[in-house]
């Protein structure tokens, strides 16, 4: 009982003494989990929205276009004896794209559909009413390309596509409503149907007539389209392979039927070729791939930093561990303290990350909405990836801490009480250059030895700073590439977000390293103070090491960053290294160094306020 009290008290003291470190581990969890779970959710959320639209708006799976007579025959066959079991509904409509004027890049579209009985590609009425007679129309909502029409506008519609022998004018129709076509999600460069062979022909206006109210016979003598939907709609999962295969099979069978009714001038376009939706899906996948690379990289860095933080904590805790060991506690009981420490830090971080991670994915989805009008879906409070990713990162940190603490606890108490010191006679390389070494003052000698003695620690520190610089540089590189891609405003926002989180992680990594360096040196700092070292001389003792390590890490981060970017660009198949601006190479290491300056400034008081009595304390 008495023993346990002591155990609990010393554990509480562990948390209090290393509170700043616990908080900085939590902060690393927050930055990492918020970004990676937010990033991880983006692709899934977009696909979810595509799926929702496919189900709720009943997107067409195939469209057959061609002369009205041929299509009428195909439709009759499909509805009659040659029925394809998988097909659910067939809807006829008429669509005409007309150049705005000779040589223009834009086309106006006139669509005649049974608006009162829509079964496929259901238009959403955003404002106004549906047409009540043949003099009323609804128009597609305005986008960056599609011009704005107001309810009440009276317009003239010219129908003069290339395949019609003469133009038809439909004058004085009144706009009574504004709609959104679920297949037109892109807000710029929605391509025109009939000019796909010519580059850059975009839709400038869409006017929908209600074909059930329209009596003019010209329609039925021309070209029409059949929208076809399939029955088993659950097979669709954002253009997955099973769906594509299935549609290809159905397409093949329709072609056979067309042959049997002697149709030759038709054309089948599947949903897989719907420019808007497919480009959204592909863009989401690209962002998803990019996200995955960054997620893995962020996890690796976070784990590295948390592990090195914990193993340095364990080094500082050797004497406490020795005391507990002599009191008869098992290795497991001793390790439990540190497991608890890292789990508490992790859970605090994870709990705080719930909201920001949703914010991240929300902001990225908003960025997508600059280019695409996605169907709105309700997102769960906690993202899909949240538990998986945060669980993985907490678990990994815990396991690594457990291994390290068990290994440390396994030493005999007396071994734990002997401070870890350089091996006898060991010298750093520069010491062999005698004339140089002799001239160095103690401060530099000490710094060089600190830097190079503990190779494992050195490697971990430099690797952390290097990786953080890689992230910052890679984000700048992506930003530069996003800048040259026209019309990809959303990409810029995504990369800016990446940059912000990379910078935050970089700052935290360096802050954490500085904080650890100070806390490991408390006794040395107090001793220097007793010896009469002035404040700036004492802080210099810690800072020099930080600056040297940061400089090494930041500079090594550049070639590593280039390598990383080349890999990323190669993997996602877009962007080029040549687009990375020269200043990115400069700013990234400088930023890393600025973070080191900030961290040392922030922790300045911690050093200066060190109690000189620390130097008198009994070695625990």
């Amino acid at each position: 009982m008495v023993k346990h009290k002591a155990y609990l008290r010393s554990t509480r003291r562990l948390f209090i003494k290393h509170l700043l470190r616990l908080l900085s581990i939590s902060a690393i969890f927050i930055v990492t989990v918020s970004l990676i779970s937010g990033l991880g959710d983006v692709e899934g959320d977009i696909k979810k929205s595509i799926n929702a639209s496919y189900q709720e708006d009943v997107l067409h799976d195939l469209t057959i276009r061609g002369p009205s007579i041929e299509l009428a025959n195909i439709k009759e066959a499909l509805e009659g004896e040659q029925k394809i079991e998988e097909i659910d509904k067939i809807e006829t409509y008429y669509t005409f794209d007309t150049r705005v004027e000779e040589g223009s890049n834009f086309a106006n579209r006139a669509v005649f559909r049974d608006l009162s009985n829509q079964t496929i590609d259901k238009l959403e009425l955003l404002e106004g009413n549906w047409p009540k007679n043949e003099n009323e129309v609804v128009v597609e909502r305005s986008t960056k390309d599609i011009k704005e029409r107001k309810i009440g506008d009276v317009i003239n519609v010219m129908i003069n596509p290339d395949f019609l022998p003469f133009p038809t004018m439909i004058n004085n129709v009144k706009v009574v409503g504004v709609v959104k076509n679920p297949t037109m999600v892109i807000l710029r460069n929605e391509p025109s149907d009939y000019y796909q062979d010519e580059d850059n022909r975009y839709i400038n206006e869409v006017v929908y007539f209600d074909s059930s109210k329209y009596t003019s016979p010209f329609l039925y003598a021309t070209v029409s389209a059949l929208n076809i939907s399939i029955k088993n709609r659950t097979i669709f999962d954002s253009f997955n392979e099973a769906y594509r295969d299935k549609i290809d099979v159905i397409k093949g069978r329709i072609e056979e039927i067309a042959k049997s009714v002697h149709a030759t001038n038709y054309q089948i376009v599947t949903l897989n070729e719907c420019y808007s939706l497919v480009s959204l899906d592909m863009y989401a996948e690209k962002v998803g791939t990019l996200a995955m690379i960054f997620i893995i990289f962020f996890i690796l860095i976070a784990i590295l930093v948390i592990y090195s933080t914990m193993s340095r904590l364990l080094d500082e805790e050797r004497s406490s561990m020795a005391v507990l060991k002599t009191l008869g506690y098992s290795n497991l009981a001793i390790s439990a303290r540190y497991i608890a420490y890292v789990i508490v830090a992790g859970l605090v971080g994870v709990a705080i990350s719930v909201f920001p991670s949703r914010l991240v994915s929300g902001l990225i989805l908003n960025a997508f909405n600059i280019q695409y009008a996605m169907k709105e879906i309700s997102l769960p409070v906690v993202g899909n990836y949240f538990f998986m990713l945060s669980g993985a990162i907490v678990l990994l940190s815990t396991i690594l801490t457990f291994i390290k603490s068990m290994r440390t606890a396994n030493y005999k108490p007396i071994e734990l009480l002997t401070p870890r010191a350089p091996k006898p006679g060991k010298r750093v390389l520069i010491e062999r250059i005698k004339p140089f070494w002799k001239r160095l003052s103690f401060k530099y000698k000490s710094t060089f030895r600190n830097v190079f003695f503990f190779k494992g620690r050195l490697a971990m520190t430099i690797l952390s700073i290097m990786s953080a610089t890689v992230l910052v540089f890679a984000s700048f590189g992506l930003l530069n590439n996003a800048n040259v891609m026209e019309g990809f405003e959303s990409l810029r926002i995504i990369t800016i977000m990446l940059l912000a989180f990379s910078a935050a992680l970089c700052a935290l990594v360096i802050y954490n390293i500085t904080n650890i360096n100070i806390s490991e040196r408390t006794r040395e700092i107090a001793t220097l103070m007793v010896l009469g070292y002035r404040n700036n001389e004492v802080t210099g003792y810690v800072y020099r090491e930080i600056y040297i390590l940061t400089a090494i890490g930041a500079i090594l981060g550049l070639p590593a960053g280039v390598g990383f970017l080349v890999f990323v660009f190669d993997y996602i198949g877009v962007f080029e290294l040549s687009n990375v601006e020269w200043w990115s190479y400069l700013v990234s290491p400088i930023l890393t160094f600025v973070f080191a300056l900030l961290a040392t400034r922030l922790l300045h008081m911690k050093i200066v306020k060190t109690d000189m009595n620390e130097s008198l304390k009994v070695l625990e």
Binding site: A421, R449, N450, F453, L531, G532, V618
Partner: protein
């Protein structure tokens, strides 16, 4: 005027809601080249006294005068300069920089000092000439404490403050260290103040100051100084 004078020194700490008086009206004087032993049980105020003498803390009341300077009136910067140039400190746990060799640890103090002595000569003086290039981890406890003493005296300080200098050492090594400190006070003409709870040490001191509950209960000159080698405990 004596070399070191303490007049009505009071030191109070805030403890929780109340105030704790660690030192109450402490008065004593001593001369340079004196070997002073401050005795007392733990919690008596020994460390507080040491902190005040060493310029690591400031008095709540009273005065401390060292070599005609009222150090109790010094501000933080002046205290740093005082420690830098005039105070040598020997710690119970040596407090050597683990990544500096014995010689470099001495240089640590001399580098910032105006009238420092030659570090190598001082190392020879404490008998560590051959160990100069060893790291603390390669030295025994006694050797480490000798480095610590060398570091303190290489500054050529006015006063050498030693906090339980033998506390972490075995009996024989402890005696050797005390001999070294005693010789320094005599040969180098330094005021050496040793704080300890070891009653036996009063036999070797020029002056004995005993504290209890923050007050001096005895302060006398020792007429029958015994060499350390003859003291047993």
């Amino acid at each position: 005027m004596s070399f070191l004078e303490l007049k009505n020194v009071v030191k109070e700490y805030k403890s929780g809601e109340g105030i704790c008086r660690a030192l109450n009206n402490v008065n004593f004087t001593s001369e340079s080249k004196e070997f002073v032993v401050v005795l007392g049980p733990s919690g008596a105020g020994k460390t507080t006294l040491l902190n005040l003498l060493g310029g690591m803390d400031t008095v709540t009341g009273g005065e401390i005068i060292l070599d005609h300077k009222k150090i109790s009136r010094f501000n933080k910067k002046q205290l740093t300069e005082l420690r830098r140039h005039h105070i040598g400190f020997v710690f119970q746990f040596y407090n050597l920089m683990p990544n500096l060799t014995a010689l470099e640890n001495v240089e640590l103090a001399t580098e910032i000092n105006r009238d420092a002595l030659n570090p190598m000569k001082i190392l020879s003086l404490v008998g560590l000439k051959n160990r100069a290039s060893h790291f603390p981890a390669q030295l025994s406890g006694g050797e480490q404490q000798r480095v610590s003493i060398a570091r303190a005296i290489a500054k050529n300080p006015k006063m050498l403050l030693c906090d339980e200098p033998t506390g972490a050492l075995d009996y024989k090594t402890g005696k050797m260290i005390l001999r070294l400190l005693y010789d320094i006070s005599k040969k180098k003409k330094k005021l050496v103040i040793v704080v300890t709870h070891n009653q036996a040490l009063k036999q070797m001191a020029d002056r004995v100051i005993e504290i209890k509950n923050g007050e001096i209960i005895k302060n006398y000159q020792n007429r029958h100084i015994k060499p350390i080698e003859d003291i047993e405990w």
